[in-house]
């Protein structure tokens, strides 16, 4: 017997939807029994009390004027006022470069540059000293100027021969880090060396994060590759490094760098305290980074190596072109998590007599005029760190999304 079936209709049916009226939703989820009703009411009372208390404090009692009054001290510490243009110049250079890259490539970099410029404009509206607000508007303008230049470069070169511009762009980005550090620190002559480098407030947190992130990622990649090396000596050294560093709390490494080196090394060859702290946090973070990257390396199937070898790539090219790009993208969340942890860990510098943001806020408290403003300061510090950490996480999510194109 043979049967043939005709589809009843080619029209697609809509998926079933279920809409529950509000009252029934409440009854089902919040007041399903006497006990649940009591829990609901008690929780609601607790939430209202907390929100009311917090709101009252924030609006009525808090002395927020402590922040603008001490803003310079918190952000750049004892950096001399007549040299502050160097900090702004560094910021402007970054703004210009971001704007340029955004204009040239569009996409994510453009969005980041735009958000940065908007943030500068929003800050300029807040009641800071007039000069600061002027500088902030200048920062936004530098992003805009860079963007214009980037668009111009894109327009002028038009079609294909844009590779050399990209090369220059990348070179300038890489060079901007040492140049920025030199500009901030000074070399003498027209750029006098700034004294008391350990009292730069939030600038130290930022520098520690930039240096730590910039160095610990490449170092971590090398360590991860080393740990998977076929050469026993390299494998042993890398494994020992990673396991040793990961087994020790960062704070004790920082104490070692600050106190033990003080005892062991004579003054003239001992690097400055801040540099020691940055080296320490880089060493610490690179061990974690190495394990994150190694996780990514292990996720790459053997077939990828075989395919690369089979088309004639050697080991180094296989690693650089095939394995690392896939491994790193697989562990972006873990790597960015490590970046965020590193940034927050820079507050531990405070324990070794470095006046970073958290530590310098205590010197504000010791000022009689601002006694008792501890909550205001800590809320401010928390918000600053949260905004920057959340930005990193948001950027990483966008990068993941973009790189995910065509992935299964």
């Amino acid at each position: 017997m043979m049967r043939s079936y005709e589809p009843a209709s080619n029209a697609q049916l809509p998926p079933p939807t279920e809409r529950i009226p509000v009252v029934r939703w409440l009854r089902q989820n919040l007041f399903s029994s006497w006990f649940n009703a009591i829990l609901t009411l008690a929780s609601a009372a607790l939430i209202v009390t907390l929100v009311y208390g917090l709101g009252r404090w924030a609006i009525v009692e808090a002395r927020w004027e402590v922040i603008p009054a001490n803003l310079k001290l918190l952000v750049v510490g004892t950096y001399p006022i007549d040299q502050l243009w160097r900090v702004w110049a560094t910021l402007y250079a970054i703004g210009l470069l971001s704007g340029f890259s955004g204009g040239l490539h569009g996409g994510l970099i453009r969005r980041i540059a735009l958000v940065g410029a908007i943030a500068a404009i929003v800050l300029a509206i807040l009641p800071f000293p007039l000069a600061t607000r002027g500088w902030l508007l200048g920062a936004a303008a530098s992003v805009g100027g860079g963007f214009g230049l980037g668009r111009l470069a894109q327009f002028a070169t038009g079609g294909r021969s844009r590779r050399w511009i990209k090369r220059i762009e990348i070179a300038v980005w890489i060079l901007s880090f040492p140049i920025g550090l030199v500009l901030l620190n000074g070399v003498g002559g027209p750029l006098p060396v700034i004294k008391a480098r350990n009292q730069w407030g939030f600038l130290l947190n930022l520098l520690g994060a930039v240096v730590g992130i910039g160095l610990s990622l490449p170092l971590g990649v090398l360590l991860a590759l080393g740990r998977r090396s076929k050469l026993p000596a390299i494998r042993l050294v890398c494994t020992a490094y990673i396991e040793l560093i990961r087994g020790v709390p960062l704070i004790s490494l920082l104490f070692m760098a600050s106190i033990m080196l003080q005892l062991l090394l004579p003054d003239n060859i001992r690097p400055d305290l801040v540099i020691r702290a940055m080296i320490t946090i880089t060493i610490f973070s690179s061990a974690y980074m190495a394990e994150n990257v190694r996780g990514g390396l292990q996720a790459i199937p053997k077939g990828q190596y075989e395919a690369a070898y089979a088309v004639g790539l050697n080991g180094a090219l296989t690693t650089i072109l095939i394995i690392l790009p896939q491994a790193l993208r697989a562990v972006i969340p873990a790597i960015v998590g490590q970046f965020i942890a590193l940034f927050k860990d820079t507050t531990l510098f405070g324990f070794i007599a470095i006046l970073e943001l958290l530590n310098i806020s205590r010197s504000v408290l010791s000022n009689l005029e601002w006694r008792g403003t501890i909550f205001e300061l800590y809320v401010f510090i928390g918000v600053v760190f949260w905004i920057l950490c959340y930005s990193m996480s948001a950027i990483s999510r966008r990068i993941e999304k973009r790189l995910g194109v065509g992935e299964r």
């Binding site: 075989e306 395919a307 089979a310 088309v311 790539l313 090219l317």
Partner: protein
């Protein structure tokens, strides 16, 4: 090295290999002439995949001699790289690079290994994609392609290095039946163009139509070798008869 190329483009003499204690290859001797199409079949676990993977040194042989295009495979990395440049390979699981587009998959090795200009490599890639019938997929990522299309990209990627020899390791085993034909068609065209090919496959139709020689593997040994005509109609070995009776019904 005193090997004349006209003795055969691939010469294997008494090749042995062990995985731990397991003796996978037990003395394989085989000579393949330039332009020949050799099909290797046999039950799974018989060592046929392992054997063709020794030819471009994805597996190391532990005894015997393998000479490819006049170069002997030893531990010398330069020899290995020379041979890999000359030998293309197609895998059962495709192994395309998922982070690169189809075009980039094909141009990668010519640009980095042969130092070809990018524009030239792009032109070669487009030609090859025409040849395997999917030029419109050039800017997609492998994950957006069907299995049959992916396998054709793999073939194009291998051909971009202008190899002397192509190895196929069960190229259709991971494909849906509807897609097997499109890959086999590309392979047939390649065989007719004079490419030297060694193909591990269970596609007996392909073997009958294209192969110059069929080789039957069992327990790491080469137990029968014949023309397709003889192999299918007049198998010599009991094991071969059994295998054919199972696979052809």
């Amino acid at each position: 090295m005193s090997v004349k190329p006209d003795e055969g483009i691939i010469i294997c003499r008494d090749v042995h290999k062990w995985f731990g204690d397991f003796h996978v290859l037990r003395g394989i001797s085989l000579t393949v002439q330039k332009g020949e199409v050799v099909v290797i079949c046999g039950p799974s676990g018989s060592g046929k995949s392992t054997f063709i993977r020794t030819i471009n040194r994805l597996e190391e042989h532990q005894r015997g001699q393998i000479i490819v295009d006049g170069v002997e495979l030893t531990n010398d990395l330069r020899n290995i790289e020379t041979i890999r440049r000359d030998v293309g390979m197609v895998f059962q699981q495709f192994n395309l690079f998922p982070h690169l587009t189809v075009r980039q998959n094909i141009t990668l090795a010519p640009v980095w290994v042969l130092k070809m200009k990018r524009a030239e490599a792009d032109a070669v890639a487009m030609q090859l994609l025409e040849r395997v019938g999917i030029p419109e997929q050039a800017d997609k990522f492998p994950g957006q392609l069907s299995g049959g299309q992916q396998q054709r990209v793999v073939i194009a990627r291998a051909l971009a290095m202008n190899p002397q020899i192509m190895l196929f390791d069960e190229p259709t085993s991971a494909l849906d039946p509807e897609m097997i034909k499109e890959v086999l068609d590309v392979m047939k065209e390649l065989a007719h163009s004079g490419m030297t090919m060694i193909v591990v496959t269970h596609e007996m139709g392909f073997a009958r139509e294209v192969a110059d020689r069929i080789i039957f593997f069992d327990f790491g040994q080469l137990i029968e070798e014949n023309t397709p005509e003889e192999f299918f109609h007049n198998p010599q070995h009991e094991r071969t008869k059994l295998f054919l009776s199972q696979i052809l019904t």
